[in-house]
């Protein structure tokens, strides 16, 4: 309840979820702990959560915490996978660009910060941390990435040979392709050097082609991949060195330090690939009082940078700890089951139903109309059990091989696999089907139809008598729910069954297909 109150009061104060703190950090959805108590109470009063008399009793001990609607019980919380991406080192200044042997103390800062992040996140509840090494290993071992990375390497070699062979135009194409392939599989996270090399040589090739503007952009993009790269002064011609310095200066002045791995779309794809709920990323940059750490958290649920931090890099452990704690307090909880109001959903529905049989003793299909009632309840995320009863009246076929209309009851049950997106909820439900037939009697002999099955003119051998027979078998239903407001939903379902019991009987009537359209309610 405290977090809820804190959140709402600050919304009221600021009118926006972002609020820059004095120490430079910004927390999405986070508000200062010291807030006017009366504002919380006023808000609760407005929400009808406390009686008016409670304002005077605020100093009394708080009652035992209870779950409010929308709260999640601890048992349902699932660990969030938080992935730490390599912290970029933006400390290299233009002055150091051609001094590869100069080692600055700040060069070790990214590794230290990565280790700190890993240690602090590991202490948090409901967090599963994946460090930089694990991410690199996972991406490198991904079998989908390996052929693409090899292709990129090949393209780079071809481009380099073309460049050395003075075929600068084709070289630019090959090198650009190499850079794109590398980045498509996030190889810049595995090993930034080959990706940087491809992008760098692409920029150099463009420079040689006289496309100065394109070269500048390409070289600037190269520094985004590996900003701490340095060169020997005599490796490139002076004009290329000048272009590199200009690109680095431009990069340092314009690149967003909180998006060192590209835009949100790329982060989202990366998080999906890694199965991460959040990505922690950042960079170390020179500041007025020494190196500064720029840290950000990208959340996959909101698909935005959820929290940002900017602090002096030296001795920033406490700040990072506070930052992570605040972010986790406000980050959406991952639950292990569909929870609404703190419990599993129960769905009831009724529907109109139509069925026909793919195998029947009649020459023409006979149609079955009826209604169905069903119940389903969640067992786990994406899993449910279900039960369903269908009652049909089967009408006579055009040739009246079915001697008269009959009623039947089907009972089905099993488990369902569900997939939910927005108002749509799709499911596949395999299970068992027990079908109790009514007075099912069929014959193709016209004399049996006209005079009756007991008449001497009726040949008993032509009569299929499944009167009161019970058929059993497997069942599969595919369908979906569309939520239409409040707790109501439309239902559309198609299903089929295969009967295999009793052994004698299913050869005459089998393979029912049915379609249902109805309305349901979830509790």
């Amino acid at each position: 309840m405290g977090a809820c109150c804190t959140k709402r009061s600050t919304w009221a104060e600021t009118g926006k979820p972002w609020r820059r703190r004095r120490n430079g950090s910004r927390i999405a959805g986070h508000w200062p702990l010291r807030r006017p108590l009366w504002l919380c109470l006023a808000l609760l009063l407005a929400l009808g959560l406390v009686p008016p008399g409670a304002q005077r009793a605020h100093a009394q001990p708080a009652p035992p915490a209870v779950l409010l609607t929308g709260d999640v019980p601890d048992a349902a919380k699932r660990a969030r996978v938080v992935v730490i991406l390599p912290i970029k080192n933006d400390i290299v200044t233009p002055e150091d660009l051609f001094a590869p042997d100069v080692v600055r103390p700040s060069a070790a800062l990214p590794a230290v910060i990565e280790a700190t992040l890993h240690r602090l996140l590991a202490l948090q509840p409901y967090v599963e941390v994946r460090g930089v090494a694990a991410v690199r290993q996972e991406l490198a071992d991904d079998l989908r990435n390996q052929p693409i990375a090899r292709s990129a390497q090949h393209q780079y070699r071809v481009g380099l040979e073309q460049y050395l062979g003075l075929a600068t135009g084709p070289a630019a194409v090959s090198l650009q392709r190499a850079s794109e392939l590398y980045r498509s599989v996030y190889y810049d996270l595995v090993d930034a050097k080959p990706v940087f090399d491809a992008q760098l040589m692409y920029g150099v090739a463009l420079h040689d082609l006289g496309r100065a503007a394109d070269s500048h952009i390409a070289l600037k993009d190269a520094f985004l991949l590996q900003p701490d790269r340095r060169f020997r002064p005599s490796f490139f011609p002076p004009q290329v060195n000048t272009a590199l310095v200009n690109a680095l200066v431009d990069y340092r002045s314009s690149a967003d330090p909180l998006q060192p791995y590209g835009d949100n779309q790329r982060l989202r794809a990366l998080a999906t690939r890694l199965g991460a709920a959040a990505l922690v990323l950042g960079s170390v940059r020179p500041g007025t009082e020494g190196p500064e750490l720029h840290l950000a958290v990208y959340g996959t649920q909101r698909r935005v940078i959820e929290a940002e931090l900017r602090v002096p890099a030296q001795g920033s452990n406490a700040r990072i700890d506070a930052f992570l704690t605040r972010w986790l307090a406000c980050a959406p909880v991952t639950v292990s089951q569909p929870v609404r109001g703190g419990r599993r959903e129960l769905r009831l529905d009724t529907s109109g139903s139509y069925a026909l049989y793919l195998r029947q003793p009649t020459r023409k299909s006979f149609h079955s109309l009826g209604f169905a009632a069903g119940v389903a309840r969640d067992l786990a995320p994406g899993l449910e059990w279900f039960g369903r009863v269908n009652m049909y009246t089967s009408l006579s076929d055009p040739y009246r091989d079915l001697l008269h209309a009959f009623n039947s009851v089907r009972v089905m049950g099993g488990v369902g696999f569900t997939w939910r997106r927005g108002p749509l909820r799709l499911y596949a439900r395999p299970g068992a089907d027990v079908h109790v037939l009514g007075s099912f009697i069929a014959s193709r002999d016209p004399d049996c139809k006209l005079f009756g099955v007991d008449h001497r003119r009726c040949d008993p051998a032509t009569v299929s008598d499944l009167d009161q027979r019970i058929l059993m078998g497997g069942h599969l239903a595919l369908g979906g729910h569309v939520h239409i407001g409040r707790n109501f939903f439309f239902l559309l379902q198609g299903s089929g069954s295969v009967y295999f019991l009793p052994l004698a009987g299913t050869e005459r009537l089998n393979f029912p297909l049915s379609a249902e359209l109805g309305l349901g309610y979830r509790l």
């Binding site: 076929d397 040739y399 009246r400 016209p446 004399d447 006209l450 005079f451 003119r457």
Partner: protein, 190 residues
């Protein structure tokens, strides 16, 4: 799997056909009079000079038809039907192998039994061929019994519908048990 798909395709086609198809509407009770005994009719006639009444009860089930043919000694069908009436002799006979062509509305069937007047003690096979023309059934009954003197003899009939398919009651479907042909002309057709 292939069989399942074939069944599915068949069921779909069957549903479509069934939605478009309609019967020939030949079901019901049809009545008419046989011509007087003479050159045009020497196989179906009564004991007196009175014309023989013919009643054809038809039931249609898709391409199949069944029913019975009943003979009346009175042409106006006014006699009460009992076991020994409308005619004590050769009262009725069941139709066999009845078929109807929905497109042409042509009905064909076979009778097996005696014929009042022409062959009262024989057990003949007679083929019926009728064509529906509005509310009439027009066609012939032809003896198909090789070796019998009446073989290939035919009689033309024009029957009028007196009851629709849904108006046929259980009484119209009653036909007495076939008796012993050797005992005389007292049995109905089989």
């Amino acid at each position: 799997m292939r069989r399942l798909l074939a069944d599915l395709a068949r069921a779909s086609c069957a549903s479509l056909l069934c939605a478009c198809a309609s019967g020939a509407d030949v079901g019901g009770v049809w009545r008419g009079q046989a011509p007087r005994q003479g050159a045009a009719n020497d196989i179906l006639f009564g004991p007196s000079d009175e014309p023989l009444g013919i009643e054809l009860v038809l039931a249609e089930f898709g391409p199949d038809v069944t029913g019975l043919l009943r003979h009346y000694s009175a042409g106006d069908f006014t006699r009460v039907r009992r076991a020994e009436a409308p005619d004590r002799q050769c009262a009725c006979g069941y139709l066999h192998q009845g078929r109807v062509d929905i497109g042409t509305e042509r009905v064909s069937f076979t009778l097996r039994g005696c014929l009042p007047g022409g062959a009262t003690q024989a057990n003949l096979r007679v083929r019926g061929q009728f064509l529906r023309e509005a509310d009439r059934l027009v066609g012939t009954l032809r003896v198909d019994e090789p070796g019998h003197p009446l073989h290939e003899r035919a009689i033309e009939l024009s029957l009028e519908r007196v009851a629709a398919a849904g108006e046929v009651g259980a009484a119209e479907l009653a036909c007495s048990q076939p008796g012993d042909a050797a005992q005389g002309n007292i049995h109905s057709g089989r």
